[in-house]
């Protein structure tokens, strides 16, 4: 197991290198950070001096290797725009994104799994259709519209919840729903289809024949065996959300790394974008690894350590 984990982490390093290289190239394709950084009154000579001092007129490959070398020393560079360590900037906002991601996943699972079970057990009925429509709505509704509508209704009209920001539990409710609803749809539909398959199997018929209570059959026997694909989906959704809660963060002024990263891209804040990309990719890799390891826990028949490496 330990060997497997270390092999995966080694692969992760190559993933991170590739990701950082692609991001670096794309960032440098257009735009110029200096135009947004120095005062508009600076003369071309002054600007040239600052550019040289920042190392921005060195050839691209030199800038890239300098960046890599600094990382090896634990120096992730200083944000051109915020003028502080990029690592501290991101670490200050990462908890907010993690919190939002997990709250969203919680919403998705707490609503999605039960709905999926109900739809599966009542397959073909009106209830099933209603649940499937709810799922489609969850996927189709644009998150920014949903967010703004919720603020309008619950903050402005009803005055039940605060509009934006972070700090209290009340401020987390609407962002979590906005972020979770899309994932809820996937979780719900997947739970429904795997449950339907599981309910057809022999051992479930055996359990029914044994006269076991219906709820016990569903939750204890059927659900457990349906969980595998759902866990995969949840894992992917976590990774996806960790990197991309941008719209929700913007609408609710949630101080996460999504809006920070996009602001950095607009500003061509190279060090900040690079660090944000690296950290996001790293988290994604770790989440994937955890999900893979979770398989073995959920289903002892699966042996990830050997299967994966062929």
């Amino acid at each position: 197991m330990a060997k497997y984990i270390s092999k995966r982490l080694l692969q992760a390093i190559f993933v991170l290198l590739g990701v950082s290289l692609v991001a670096f190239i794309i960032l440098h394709l257009s735009g110029d950070p200096l135009s947004l950084l120095i005062s508009s009154g600076a003369t071309p000579e002054q600007e040239a001096a600052i550019r040289t001092k920042m190392g921005l007129d060195d050839p691209l490959y030199i800038q890239y290797f300098r960046f890599l070398a600094q990382i090896l020393h634990g120096d992730f560079g200083e944000s051109l725009y915020y003028k502080q360590s990029t690592l501290s900037l991101i670490m200050n906002r990462l908890p907010a994104t993690i919190q939002l991601t997990f709250a969203g996943i919680l919403v998705a699972t707490v609503i999605g799994i039960p709905l999926g079970i109900i739809a599966a057990t009542k397959k073909g009925s009106v209830v099933d259709s209603v649940v499937r429509i709810i799922a489609i709505c969850g996927q189709a509704i644009p998150s920014f519209w949903l967010g703004l509508m919720m603020i309008l209704i619950f903050s402005v009209k009803l005055k039940w919840l605060p509009t934006s920001g972070r700090g209290t539990f009340a401020q987390m409710i609407m962002p979590a729903i906005t972020v979770g609803l899309f994932s809820m749809a996937s979780v719900c539909r997947l739970t429904r289809s795997t449950m339907i398959e599981t309910l057809k199997t022999d051992y479930i018929r055996t359990a029914k024949a044994k006269g076991l209570h219906k709820a016990r059959i569903i939750v204890v026997h059927a659900l457990r065996n349906s969980l595998l694909p759902v866990v995969t989906t949840i894992g992917m959704e976590i990774g996806h959300l960790l990197g991309g809660t941008l719209l929700t963060e913007t609408i609710f002024s949630w101080p996460g790394i999504g809006s920070l990263a996009v602001q950095a891209i607009t500003n061509r804040d190279y060090p900040l974008v690079q660090t944000a990309v690296l950290i996001t990719a790293f988290m994604f890799v770790i989440v994937n690894l955890i999900v893979d390891l979770l398989y073995a826990v959920i289903d002892p028949r699966i042996d990830v350590t050997n299967a994966k490496l062929e």
């Binding site: 135009s35 005062s39 200050n92 906002r93 993690i98 703004l148 605060p162 920001g165 700090g167 539990f169």
Partner: protein
């Protein structure tokens, strides 16, 4: 319980913990100074539209962009500046109308063309007890000019050569060349505590600022909000508003809804389309005032052949109907300008009037210049850079089309457009606004029209000579005469189509008495309760 179940239960518990962590304001991440900031939204939500009761303890201001740093000498951007002007003071300050007056300096005079002597106010201390004196001034000026420190506004103080301490409360600032704009420029040079910074370092200072100003930092959650409390020992008198929370709400719809929900007392940058909604909200009004920004349609006279001809540029000026744009698109919240200069700037000449809207004349001039048809011009614009910029660009394109120019709008990213203007590769026309807390004829006109300047696409020796002369002329009459000439030149040569002066549009709770300032800074110690 089986091992599997225990693990799954453990994971669920972890997820719950992650979700609930940070609630109730316990999250210390990003909060580096003083107490951990706790959001007080719960109480504010309950006190909606209950004006007087809600904000006597303190007010909340919704700002439209991030605070980049708490170090005032590295600050750029209106919001970052607003925060620093409430914590720090400079030798001089700008009042709401744009006049320069003394602040930490009691008086100043010119010993000669390049030497300014400042007599400093006595008895002023930083909030940590450190005394403000001539050494502070020398340190502060040298720090902002220090290349190793690398201030983002260093270039704007490059006219300063050195500082001499004469005695504890007298200091000389020497400029490289005669520079009448110095007092205005000094309104942005914050006085910072020498001992405190030398002891703790720049990085520490940037998150634990200490100033002489009306407020001191209580807490700061990056990207979320910043709280200041009153400095009761402020040398101008303790401020009436005892506490201010700056909430960062970048999305304009959310900012407007925060006003409608009664969560904030002042909100900046209200979009024109939402002005009606704010007016209809009980307890709030729209308050607007001119800002220190001049908006214009730049023309690439160097890179575009048609635009190198004065007649074509003048025709474009005649073809633009600014009155309609201001009343229809900007809701009346703008003033036309004639030659980039703003009424609040020293040297503004009101007798230079804007071009009359005359599409027939425009068509005639284009025909005379040989461009009756077939002239295709791109209008480059950054979507959302300023209120209604996209709509204004589209309107101008339409107006140019009706005089026979094939004009079309192209949307650029901010850094890309600025880069293209800088190296004169911008195809034809571009919508832009420039200005800032120390904007003036000398600074802003140089940037827009000076040969080789970063935002200029014009080469004109006459302008350069006149501008350099006006910028170093101490005699006010001669200086104003020169600026008059320059404005007439700009109107005549039309290197840009001077469009309008930007207005700052704010939503303000009715129980607060406040006037928007020209430099777009919200000086909280000037706010009072009605």
């Amino acid at each position: 319980m089986k091992k599997r179940n225990r693990i799954l239960a453990g994971i669920l518990a972890v997820m719950l913990t992650f979700s609930l962590a940070g609630c109730g304001g316990q999250d210390a991440a990003g909060s580096t100074a003083g107490t951990v900031g706790t959001a007080e939204d719960a109480s504010q939500v309950q006190d909606v539209n209950n004006g007087t009761a809600a904000n006597t303890d303190g007010i909340t201001i919704a700002v439209s962009s991030d605070i980049t740093t708490l170090d005032p000498q590295n600050a750029s951007g209106t919001v970052t500046a607003t925060v620093f002007f409430n914590m720090f003071d400079c030798l001089t300050r700008m009042d709401a109308e744009g006049n320069v007056e003394c602040l930490l300096a009691e008086s100043y005079e010119n010993l000669d063309d390049t030497t300014w002597q400042f007599n400093l106010r006595q008895g002023v201390t930083f909030t940590n007890g450190e005394i403000f004196n001539a050494d502070t001034v020398k340190y502060s000026v040298e720090r902002i000019l220090d290349e190793n420190y690398g201030s983002s506004v260093m270039a704007d103080f490059a006219d300063i050569d050195s500082v001499e301490v004469v005695d504890d409360y007298t200091v000389n600032i020497i400029t490289k060349t005669p520079f009448p704009s110095l007092p205005l420029r000094l309104t942005y040079l914050a006085m910072v505590p020498k001992d405190y910074i030398t002891e703790n370092g720049d990085d520490y200072f940037a998150t634990n600022p200490v100033g002489t100003g009306a407020y001191k930092l209580e807490s700061y959650e990056e990207g979320n909000q910043l709280v200041l409390t009153a400095n009761e020992d402020y040398f101008m008198g303790a401020p009436e508003v005892k506490k201010v929370t700056f909430k960062i709400i970048k999305e304009e719809s959310t900012r407007v809804m925060a006003v409608q929900a009664g969560e904030v007392d002042i909100a900046m940058s209200i979009p024109v389309s939402q002005i009606g909604a704010i007016d209809a909200t009980e307890g709030y009004s729209i308050i607007a005032g001119p800002a220190d920004r001049t908006m214009f349609l730049g023309m690439n006279t160097i890179g575009n052949e048609a635009l190198s001809k004065k007649e074509v540029r003048q025709a474009i000026c005649y073809a633009i109907d600014m009155d309609t744009i201001i009343s229809v698109i900007l809701g009346g919240y703008a003033d036309k300008t004639a030659a980039l200069s703003l009424p609040q700037w020293s040297g503004y000449d009101a007798s230079v009037t804007p071009y009359e809207y005359d599409p027939e004349k425009a068509k005639q001039m284009l025909a005379d210049a040989g461009y009756a048809s077939g002239l295709s011009l791109e209008i480059a614009v950054v979507n959302g850079e300023y209120p209604c910029f996209s709509e204004i660009a589209e309107a101008i394109a339409g107006q140019l089309q009706s005089v026979g120019i094939d004009a079309y709008v192209n949307y650029y990213e901010k850094s890309v457009l600025r880069g293209a203007v800088k190296d004169n590769s911008i195809p034809a026309l571009y919508l832009m606004g420039l200005g800032g807390p120390y904007a003036e004829n000398n600074q802003t006109l140089r940037i827009i029209c000076g040969t080789g300047e970063r935002y200029s696409t014009w080469n004109n020796e006459e302008f350069d000579t006149l501008r350099a002369e006006a910028g170093s002329e101490f005699d006010e009459t001669k200086r104003n005469e020169l600026w008059s000439q320059i404005q007439s030149l700009i109107k005549e040569e039309a290197p840009v189509a001077s469009l309008y002066q930007l207005y700052g549009v704010y939503a303000v709770r009715d129980n607060l008495d406040w006037t928007p300032a020209l430099n777009e800074v919200i000086q909280v110690n000037e706010i009072s309760y009605k």
